[in-house]
Every structure is written in structure tokens, then in C-alpha cells.
């Protein structure tokens, strides 16, 4: 397999190199950053593919750079901006993905005036050296790509007019609970309903129960998590309010879970899910527990990438 790394394509000392070589390196590096989204991790094809025709190397550098930037942007905006993310304080986490503007600024080492952006018409001369170096830095900053996750849950309900208390209704629902696996937004909650609201007798109670048991990553084949796979779970009360929040294993707001060796982010303890939930009254159902408003998992693919910052820094 052809050697694949920045050095093989002249980086970072690309000054005065023929246009083709570093450009081909950038194309291969970008193709590699698409692998986390591909069905198979096929680095051999990238190594063997010649993305740029050699004889076409003298066509306009600005035109080529514009096309490359469009492709890079579409890839970058799927990656986690780990530089902005304070992993120790997930509550600060708002927009997790790279924005194009943030990436260009970071690639220019924080100096806005140095940003080489052909979209703004400031890419001169053709085959702009600064642009090439900044794009290498930008690609190096794309480390955390999304990984799929799943969650196992149990669900049950009671709607027969028999239970005479909310706790009896919950117990009945849990007896008939069924396991399931989901890929959407995990939740654990009890929804108590006064029986007559559903047409049952006075003094009866209905309920719906969902209990999240475990959230785990479905990692690519051969990918071994090494403390670098994270789940970000934004949690609120089951009724959407902080007052409605209850539960163990999660806290209100943003939660961050690293995956263990098996890819498991969190396992929820069995607990008395219905405890503390207010009794429902006519036309006033009650909620207890939690639901997530966003859930995303990311893995640091740096160990799999060939085009990366070997010195360990983030941008150079």
C-alpha cells in the first residue's frame, strides 16, 4: 500500500512543491475523513486511487481550492468540535459540531486576518501555500466523528380499569413489560393517568412505563474504544420541566458518558421508577422520570487515521 501520511505528500514543507503532490495528499486525507461514514473502512482504495490527474496540475489553483473547500466543509460539519467542548463540563456544551467559520479560524491558529478562504476572493496567488497549510490543520482537527448508538429498554402499560392506586397500576404495567431496542432518544418515565380519563371506573388508574436499561455504541469493526468514545445526552424531566425530573444514573441537563471496553456508555440501575410521582386527578395526568432532548455519540478516530498531527498538537 502506498505510504499514507502528510509527510509522504510533502507536508508541512510544501512550499514550492509542484501543485499535484500536496493537492493529492489533501484529497486522500479528506477521503479518509469520510471513512467513519462509510459502510466499510476501505483505506486501501484511498491509497490506490489517484484523485488528481497528474497532467492537469496547472489548472487554476483557486478553482481547485474552491471545489476542495466545498467538499471539506460538508465533511467537517459532521465532526465534533472537540476544541470548543469542555469535556469536564458538559453543561457548557451547546453546538457540538464544527462550523465552517470555527474550523477556518482554528486552522488559521485563531488569527482571523490570516484565514485563507477562496470564497472571499482573498486566495492569491494561485496554489496558495497558506491555504494548503491551513487545510492540513483543518483536517487534523477532524477527530471525533459520530458513531451509532442503541439503547435497550423495557416498556409496559396498564389500561384496564383494575388498579386502584397509581402504584398498583405501575406494578401491573411492569409485570407485562416487554424489552425493546431503540436508536432514537432514550427515556425512563412513568405516565400516570386517572382511570375515568380513559373511560374506566372512578378510583381506577392507568399508566405507561418506559425504563431505559442501557445505552451503548455500535462501533465499527476493529475499532477498539480506548477512553475516546463519548455519549452526550441532554436530559430533562419526563414532562419537559425540571420539576418533572427524577431518576438515577442521569442528571438534569447535559450528561457525558465515556464508553467502556464493551462500548457501553451507561447502565441504569433498577429502581423504584414510580416513587415520588404525584397521584393523577381527573384531566391531570402526572409524569415522573426523565427524557432526553438530544443524544449523540462520538468517537475519536485519530488512532485509525493516517493523516493526522503526529506531533500530538492539535493544529500544527
Amino acid at each position: 500500500m502506498q505510504e499514507l501520511n502528510w509527510q509522504a505528500f510533502g507536508f508541512p514543507l510544501v512550499a514550492f512543491l509542484p501543485a499535484w503532490k500536496p493537492a493529492e495528499g489533501l484529497q486522500k486525507a479528506l477521503a479518509e475523513r469520510l471513512l467513519p461514514f462509510a459502510e466499510t473502512w476501505d483505506i486501501e482504495t484511498i491509497a490506490e486511487t489517484t484523485f488528481l490527474p497528474l497532467l492537469d496540475e496547472c489548472r487554476a489553483g483557486r478553482e481547485w481550492s474552491l471545489a476542495f473547500d466545498r467538499e471539506l466543509r460538508s465533511v467537517a460539519e459532521r465532526y465534533l468540535n472537540h476544541t470548543k467542548l469542555d469535556l469536564t463540563d458538559p453543561a457548557e456544551w451547546s453546538n457540538p459540531l464544527w462550523t465552517w467559520e470555527d474550523l477556518l479560524l482554528a486552522a488559521a491558529e485563531g488569527e482571523e486576518k490570516r484565514i485563507a478562504d477562496p470564497e472571499k476572493g482573498d486566495l492569491s496567488p494561485e496554489w496558495n501555500l497558506e491555504w494548503a497549510i491551513q487545510r492540513m490543520r483543518a483536517i487534523n482537527l477532524l477527530c471525533y466523528a459520530p458513531v451509532p448508538y442503541l439503547y435497550d429498554y423495557l416498556s409496559g402499560s396498564t389500561h384496564n380499569g383494575e388498579p386502584s392506586s397509581p402504584s398498583a397500576s405501575i406494578s401491573a404495567a411492569l409485570k407485562g413489560e416487554e424489552p425493546g431496542t431503540g436508536s432514537g432518544l432514550p427515556a425512563s418515565y412513568v405516565n400516570n393517568i386517572y382511570g375515568p380519563d380513559h373511560g374506566w371506573r372512578e378510583g381506577s388508574y392507568c399508566c405507561n412505563v418506559v425504563v431505559c436499561k442501557k445505552i451503548y455504541a455500535t462501533l465499527p469493526e476493529g475499532f477498539t474504544p480506548d477512553g475516546n468514545v463519548w455519549l452526550f445526552l441532554d436530559v430533562t424531566g419526563a414532562d419537559g420541566s425540571e420539576q418533572g425530573f427524577s431518576g438515577s444514573g442521569v442528571t438534569f441537563g447535559m450528561n457525558r458518558f465515556p464508553a467502556d471496553a464493551e462500548g457501553v456508555f451507561v447502565t441504569f440501575p433498577d429502581n423504584n421508577i414510580g416513587s415520588g410521582v404525584a397521584w393523577p386527578t381527573r384531566d391531570h395526568p402526572t409524569w415522573g422520570g426523565w427524557k432526553s432532548t438530544s443524544c449523540q455519540a462520538f468517537a475519536d478516530y485519530s488512532s485509525l487515521f493516517h493523516f493526522k498531527n503526529e506531533s500530538g498538537g492539535e493544529t500544527s
Binding site: 512550499a15 512543491l17 501543485a19 503532490k21 496547472c58 494561485e126 496554489w127 496558495n128
Partner: protein, 187 residues
């Protein structure tokens, strides 16, 4: 004169004489550059042109048009000494032309070399650490052999020597004009 055609029955040894007659004839009809006349020998054929520089001594080898980085053969009217000169044939200034590399521009002064068969070429290198460019022009027997991808070599003209006539002629390979390095990553 043109030798006779070969006949059946000619002895093999007579071929030497006929062959030499043919060579002599080719010498006789070979165009030779003279005062005011330029000859440019190219793979596709020869090009004859009249020099536009009135009063210039010696024979030149420009590509026809006048301009920067023209390479011509000049002869001193008094000493009759010939030199290969790189200059702007459209002016009498000291600047042969401009070399542009990205945002950098270099004024290159006229240069002269003693006549010798070889190639006049531009040789640009870039210091990996400082990023400074070095722009050199040379007349050498052969182009330098190099595997340095950061070395830019551009042929300007070819100087040939007629050993029998002991004369030199210059063929402009690259059309006259300022030089801009394209297709490389530059500041």
C-alpha cells in the same frame, strides 16, 4: 555538387567516395547565419528571420519577437569576441526580465557567457526553512540532473556549435517574455 546515383554493379568501396561527396554537398547547402539573418533550428524545422536590431554586431538567435529573456549571440565589433547574452531584446536596459513566483518578483540583470554548446536555463530553488527563493541563470552543457521536486528548471535557449565552421548559433527554446512560475505552492 550532388553526387551521381548508385548503379548496379558499383563496387562497395566506391560507396565511400559517393557518400563523402554527399556530405560535402550537404555542407555546401547548409544555411549559415549571417549579418542580419537569424537561423533557429527546432525539432520541427528551421526558422529564418531578419534581426530587427539595426547596427547590432554579430548574429542573434531570438525567437522572432523581441522581449525579455531573449538569448542571442553577440559579437563585439572591435574585438570580434562573441558572447551569449541573455537580455531584453526589446530594450537596451540592464534588466533582462522579471521572474514572478507567487507574490515575489525578481528583477534579473542581463547576463553573458562565453560561447559554449549547451543550454541556457533558469534554475529556481526554495530554501525549505526560510522560504527564500534563489533564482539563477546558467549556460551549461546539460541540464542539471536532480530529484529535488522543489527545484524549478526552465530551458530558455540552446547554443550549438558547428565545429567545422567554428561558429555558434543560438536557438530560443522558450518564447521571449517575463517568467512566471505557475503550478507550485507559493506565498
Amino acid at each position: 555538387m550532388i553526387p551521381r546515383k548508385l548503379l548496379r554493379g558499383d563496387k562497395f568501396t566506391s560507396l565511400y567516395d559517393l557518400w563523402n561527396q554527399m556530405i560535402d554537398h550537404l555542407y555546401e547547402i547548409r544555411p549559415v547565419a549571417g549579418s542580419g539573418i537569424q537561423i533557429q533550428r527546432m525539432p520541427a524545422g528551421m526558422r529564418f528571420s531578419a534581426t530587427a536590431r539595426g547596427g547590432s554586431s554579430g548574429s542573434g538567435g531570438s525567437f522572432g519577437d523581441l522581449g525579455p529573456f531573449a538569448v542571442t549571440l553577440e559579437e563585439n565589433a572591435e574585438t570580434k569576441k562573441q558572447t551569449v547574452k541573455m537580455h531584453n531584446s526589446a530594450s537596451d536596459g540592464e534588466i533582462a526580465g522579471l521572474v514572478t513566483i507567487g507574490s515575489s518578483r525578481f528583477e534579473i540583470k542581463n547576463q553573458e557567457w562565453a560561447p559554449a554548446a549547451g543550454i541556457v536555463f533558469c534554475d529556481i530553488t526554495c530554501n525549505a526553512e526560510s522560504g527564500e527563493y534563489q533564482v539563477l541563470f546558467s549556460l551549461a552543457e546539460k541540464l542539471p540532473e536532480t530529484t529535488d521536486e522543489k527545484r524549478y528548471i526552465l530551458r530558455l535557449a540552446e547554443v550549438t556549435c558547428d565545429k567545422d565552421q567554428k561558429t555558434y548559433s543560438v536557438a530560443q527554446i522558450r518564447a521571449v517574455g517575463d517568467i512566471e512560475v505557475l503550478g507550485r505552492w507559493v506565498k
